[in-house]
């Protein structure tokens, strides 16, 4: 197996807020293969975005990496000086943010913002940078790029702005691109085009991709491997096909059942009951236990570790779902009932 481009080991991130400490990421390990695409799925607040910011060491005020390592190019990014970190950002690891509306500076012409990304890392003449900007805008499918350079972001549509962001991100041919919900703010028709472009260009540049999304449809198209996150933990990680065909973690099963399907639309969408845990007070056991139909007694007391379930397939679950059960979305073993919460048991006794 080749050496991964990015290797996150036991990453723990804490965010101090005015009210308390949020346990945003609680020991995540991930590998991204060179040129590969890893998807991170999970609902809002599962730690996807915080983790990507932690990799770039751009956590918001009050956020810090409490422990763990981020290996990239033979170095642990958590130990780099701020100046060294700046040379990594943009040049070796680029990132596309969610909202192209606000990721561009409204008062600077688009061309200057692309050139700026080049100037930040390379000693080139203004003319050379401008030529590169024209080339890049052309590459992301913006017509008549020379004329567009002097225009301001508000003169562009959302899709065009995200294309510009992609141009900026790939300007320096980074080895890794983190795309945090790159198409959430776009129209559905534009989404497909932008994703196609992203895929094409990252292949061309040879950049590995970490794609963050809660849209499993996008994941199926774009990634080779998916890590499912819940409450700041990876609960399941498998090759994309395998994950869709044979989900093991009850949370993944729930996620897959909550996607609308056009073909074979039978019945209503199935939501996952309950809401994610309070990240300021994580439970002692599995954080998904209160919402889980498969839970057993052990789930209330011990948080399961991520363990190999099949080749390349990791699951963190005491009682994973069987293939027959994933179709119905609940356990169908004879005589099985979800373990009641410990508090209620004490109440009865």
């Amino acid at each position: 197996m080749t050496e991964p481009v990015l290797s996150v080991r036991d990453l723990v991130v804490r965010l101090s807020t005015g009210r308390g400490v949020v346990h945003a990421v609680n020991g995540v390990s991930l590998d991204v293969e060179p040129g590969g695409a890893l998807g991170l799925v999970g609902e809002s607040g599962s730690g996807k975005s915080v983790m990507s910011l932690a990799i770039l060491r751009l956590l918001p005020r009050g956020g810090r990496i409490a422990s763990g390592q981020v290996w990239f190019g033979g170095r642990d990014l958590t130990g780099l000086s701020p100046a060294e970190m700046r040379t990594v950002r943009g040049r070796e690891i680029a990132m596309i943010l969610q909202d192209p509306q606000s990721s561009l500076n409204p008062v600077l012409p688009v061309g200057e913002q692309i050139e700026e990304a080049i100037h930040a890392h390379e000693r080139v003449t203004r003319r050379a940078a401008r030529a590169r900007a024209v080339e890049l805008l052309g590459a992301v499918g913006i017509a008549r790029p020379e004329e567009q350079l002097g225009r301001f972001p508000h003169q562009f549509s959302g899709g065009m702005r995200q294309r510009v962001m992609i141009a900026i991100a790939l300007a320096l041919r980074p080895r890794l691109l983190i795309a945090d919900e790159p198409t959430t703010a776009l129209d559905v028709t534009v989404q497909a085009q932008v994703l196609e472009l992203l895929k094409e260009l990252t292949d061309e540049v040879g950049a590995a991709v970490v794609l963050i999304s809660h849209d499993l449809g996008i994941m199926a198209r774009m990634t080779q491997r998916i890590a499912v996150m819940y409450a700041g933990l990876v609960v399941e990680s498998a090759p994309t096909r395998e994950l869709f065909a044979r989900p093991r973690h009850p949370y993944t099963v729930g996620l897959l059942r909550s996607i609308p399907r056009i073909a074979g639309a039978r019945g209503a969408l199935v939501p996952i009951d309950g809401s994610p845990p309070d990240l300021e007070r994580l439970p002692e056991g599995c954080p998904f236990a209160p919402r889980c139909a498969w839970r057993i007694d052990a789930c209330w007391s011990a948080n399961p570790a991520l363990a190999v379930d099949a080749p390349e397939h990791l699951v963190a679950c005491h009682n994973p779902a069987e293939p027959a059960e994933t179709a119905v979305g609940r356990p169908i073993r004879p005589g099985f009932a979800p373990s009641p919460p410990p508090a209620r048991r004490e109440g009865v006794a």
């Binding site: 700046r86 950002r89 700026e116 004329e147």
Partner: protein, 301 residues
């Protein structure tokens, strides 16, 4: 042509765009046009007034003392026979210069401090903002008068005193802007692209704070001129024989019954100039407000 413009580093539509915008601003309201017209005239007179003046503003001609307005002396003469029209023209230059220096000092100092406060936060911000509070808590004009009086009456001291009064407003303004800009994604995007703090301040924050500061400046120019003249009127600013409007008015004040033209014309000049700058400032503020929302926040589309 496009290729040429690109090579020169100036995209072709920026200038055309700017000219079109100015045209639209002037046509938006007749008050905008009036304000801009007055300001334009005052600036031109400040630049070329000395050449246009029929007499030396400080030339004494006791035989022509206290003459009412006539073809030879459009605004009449004062008790020393100086031509008031020439003096008012010379005063335009002083007022404009004074306003430029006062606001130049306050804007550079105040805005940078405000940006630092907003960006760095913590103890630094606390310190800077409490100092500005201290200055703002004082009635501005009294403070300026006190400073000018302490330093001794002179135009330079007045300028300094007024700069001390004006800077905290810019600190507040800039800090407020930075606090909201800081959370905007393009700052994060710049960091993601590997930009350092200095780069972000000068490239992104200053450029975004600038439009708001410019509007504030256009509103403050009138006040700065008025305050300078007021301090001169009180005898704390320009000293004779400087043809500062406030100073001319205060000299002419006691002659108002015998020579009404003496304090009247510089008074009108001052009032019209301040009115012009205020109209322009108000117009700019209204003009830029909804547009700021459009280009910065996306409501426009």
């Amino acid at each position: 042509m496009i290729a040429e413009a690109v090579r020169d580093g100036a995209p072709p539509h920026r200038w055309r765009h700017a000219v079109r915008e100015v045209g639209r601003f002037l046509r938006a309201s007749w008050l905008n046009a009036l304000g801009a017209g007055i300001v334009g005239l005052v600036v031109l007179l400040a630049a070329f007034g000395r050449a246009l003046a029929p007499h030396d503003p400080n030339h004494l001609d006791l035989l022509a003392a206290l003459k009412p307005p006539s073809a030879a002396h459009w605004f009449g003469t004062d008790n020393l026979g100086r031509d008031l029209f020439s003096r008012v023209l010379a005063g335009a230059r002083i007022s404009v210069e004074v306003a430029v220096i006062i606001l130049g000092l306050s804007v550079v100092f105040g805005t940078l401090l405000g940006i630092v406060a907003g960006l760095v936060g913590g103890l630094v911000e606390e310190l800077i903002m409490r100092v500005t509070d201290l200055f703002l808590a004082f009635p501005a004009f009294i403070l300026a008068a006190a400073i000018a009086a302490t330093l001794g009456p002179s135009l330079n001291h007045t300028v300094l005193a007024l700069a001390v009064v004006f800077w905290p407003w810019y600190t507040r303004l800039a800090r407020g802007q930075v606090l909201s800009l800081r959370e905007r994604e393009f700052v994060l995007a710049a960091r993601v692209a590997g930009a350092g703090t200095t780069w972000i301040v000068f490239r992104h924050l200053v450029r975004n704070v600038l439009p708001v500061v410019i509007v504030q400046v256009s509103l403050d120019v009138g006040y700065a001129m008025l305050a300078t003249s007021a301090l001169s009127f009180l005898g704390l600013g320009a000293q004779p024989p400087t043809p500062e409007w406030g100073a001319i008015i205060t000299d002419g004040r006691s002659f108002i019954q015998t020579a009404w033209w003496w304090p009247t014309f510089p008074g009108i000049a001052l009032a019209v100039t301040v009115l012009g700058f205020n109209l322009l400032g108000d117009g700019l503020r209204d003009w830029i407000d909804p547009r700021l929302r459009g280009s910065l926040g996306g409501v426009q589309e």
